[in-house]
Symmetry: C2
């Protein structure tokens, strides 16, 4: 860590954060402060149904703002949905984007803001640092404690023709303001809380061992791991607001970390799986994360041992045994959540694995994986996960 830090440049960029129960009520004021006249609001039918979209637009009305509402998106949002949204944004002459939702509405909103301001097609921006012009101001309000899109430089959009989830990464994609209101988590299903919590856990673990982790991101990663292990089970059992709030804190910490340190092979494969099989993103990590950690272990024994220490809350010597015990405990933990634990439950045919791995090789997330991974390496990880 020290050696790495001594010679390279590290960047850390996050939005202004407003965190707390009831903070949704500040949405209109935030949009006004960013110069809004007409807001482009992105959300989804689920959030309309439980009333949060109305609560949001009330805050816009209070500030005498006009708005246009867009909800024509699905889980794993599609390229054509983004382009349709961008066309409406321009037609309506909106000037600020507000997203209310989980990763899908938030990523769709980023894609819309991007295409509306930079032109071209969303496909032009796949990869890292390919955005030239500034985006309109963005206020994001996450309704899950997982994706972290409200904090991060990441935007993941599915290319339907190629069946690929494109990773678009740029500092320009960091929203201006993230309003994190743990009250919104109360209307989520058990499965969505698990999927979000495990996604945040994967963000924390991958960013912690990333090749470009810094002291600023490492601290947040470990904090997120600790909070998720301490509070996820209780949140599922009790639905107590206090536990849900701890998960929001964890997800926020993990997002601060991975936005600035990047991710790794687990997310590269997860994006390919999502593109090919339209899987719920959070539910692929229990399958992939333990074998990816075993693959990475030799490049980061000390860090994996730190993760193990946080997971198990005790010290084991030697450090490699500590690291392995952590991975083992993580596997057991994922099994206890009663979600998919084998890749065969997601992929229809093992013959499709080479295609999957080839696609993952092109994902920008792989660049920061601590151990270089070839297509063969990824295939072995998938076979272990099968």
């Amino acid at each position: 860590m020290k050696g790495e830090c001594a010679v390279e440049l590290r960047k850390f960029s996050i939005p202004e954060i407003i965190f707390g129960q009831g903070s949704l009520r500040y949405a209109g004021r935030c949009a006004r402060r960013l110069g809004a006249e007409k807001v482009f609001v992105v959300s989804d039918p689920g959030l309309e149904y439980v009333g949060w979209v109305d609560r949001l637009t009330e805050t816009l009305a209070e500030e005498k703002l006009r708005w246009v509402y867009f909800n024509d998106i699905v889980s794993n949002p599609r390229d054509f949905q983004v382009e349709r949204g961008a066309a409406i944004y321009k037609e309506e002459e909106a000037d600020v984007v507000i997203a209310l939702g989980g990763g899908s509405p938030m990523d769709a909103a980023k894609g819309i803001a991007l295409v509306a301001s930079n032109g071209g097609s969303i496909h032009d921006y796949e990869g890292a640092n390919r955005i030239q012009r500034p985006l309109p101001p963005m206020v994001f309000i996450p309704s899950t404690a997982g994706s972290g899109s409200d904090l991060t430089q990441f935007c993941i959009i599915t290319d339907v023709r190629r069946k690929v989830k494109m990773s678009i990464i740029s500092r320009s994609l960091v929203p201006n303001i993230s309003i994190i209101d743990p009250l919104l988590l109360q209307t989520k299903t058990k499965n969505l809380i698990i999927a979000s919590g495990i996604d945040a856990l994967a963000h924390a673990i991958e960013s912690y061992v990333s090749k470009i982790a810094t002291p600023f991101t490492e601290l947040q990663s470990l904090q997120a791991i600790r909070l998720i292990f301490e509070h996820l089970e209780a949140a599922l059992e009790t639905r107590s607001l206090d536990c849900l709030q701890q998960l929001s804190t964890a997800s926020t910490a993990a997002a601060m970390a991975f936005s600035n340190a990047g991710l790794g092979a687990d997310h590269a494969l997860a994006h390919s799986l999502g593109g090919m099989f339209d899987t719920l993103h959070g539910l692929v990590h229990p399958v992939l994360l333990p074998p990816v950690m075993r693959f990475n272990l030799r490049e980061c024994v000390e860090k994996m041992a730190n993760i193990g220490e946080v997971i198990l809350n005790k010290k084991i010597r030697p450090r490699e045994a500590m690291a392995l015990a952590g991975i083992e405990k993580l596997s057991e933990y994922c099994e206890s959540l009663q979600v998919n634990n084998h890749l065969r439950e997601i992929v229809d045919d093992p013959c499709r694995l080479p295609e999957l791995c080839k696609m993952a090789l092109n994902d920008a997330c792989l660049l920061t994986n601590p151990r270089a991974a070839s297509a063969e390496d990824l295939l072995r990880i998938c076979e272990e996960a099968w």
Copy 2:
């Protein structure tokens, strides 16, 4: 902490950070990205002498930017210096502010940006949240590892008539970009490294026990305390770049924390001391911090024990003993640095203490002190420090 968090709103706002040896070279590019045509550069003769100002303006020339240079400031910058700078900023039609220096040039630059954009006199903005209009974009480059002004919502300017250091606190005072280049610390004197390190330590300790600390700030506070105890002595002895970089990391972490969590009675008194006696800010903390911690102890035993655990790197039971052992160790540590350890070495006459305490009562930093403090309480703290 949990209870507090469950009912209140917490905000977290920091600039974009570019951290690393040699990062000064990005100054011109950052100004350009923020729309600069003519940059208002604030620095001081010391940094001119060692060549850093030239290095900075070279990066502006590379980007074909024009600039106007201002260095007419002293340690504990004065109100009239800020107003003179603001007049020049407007006369020259500058559009972006770059500050290169320790807390004094950076705070002066904030004051100049504030008065130039919001009008009136710098005195109009004393206190919290009194800025209405946006400031010009700001790129700050700290040359010490202490003040944290490059990260924070704080700006401290001396009112020469009243002999008061005014605390001006607003989210609008957070610079857009902080460029933290540890190479700049190599040209600093031993005394300045101590003063900066102890200032960062005071930021970390006061923000950790602040009434409005959050999980995001607490993590950074403890990290800063740990890094300073691990690396300050070695940095003074060896001047190794690695140690200096650790101090930069510590100061940055402490600034992230105190900008968002606020400070306490130590800083309220330190500002009054600075206003009345023009003391070097960092050197008042060894005198004040231990008695302030003893005063606060009963309101935050658990947190003080956590601080003690980090300082001593061991656990002592009961927790109150752990807390006291930490304060004791901090006192010894300050003595070992061979700086002022008694208030009588700073204040010329004990008769002036009531005036000092009365002034500190009006400082915005006192609002977040964990224990309410009256003028009599502050006087007892000063008598203990005498």
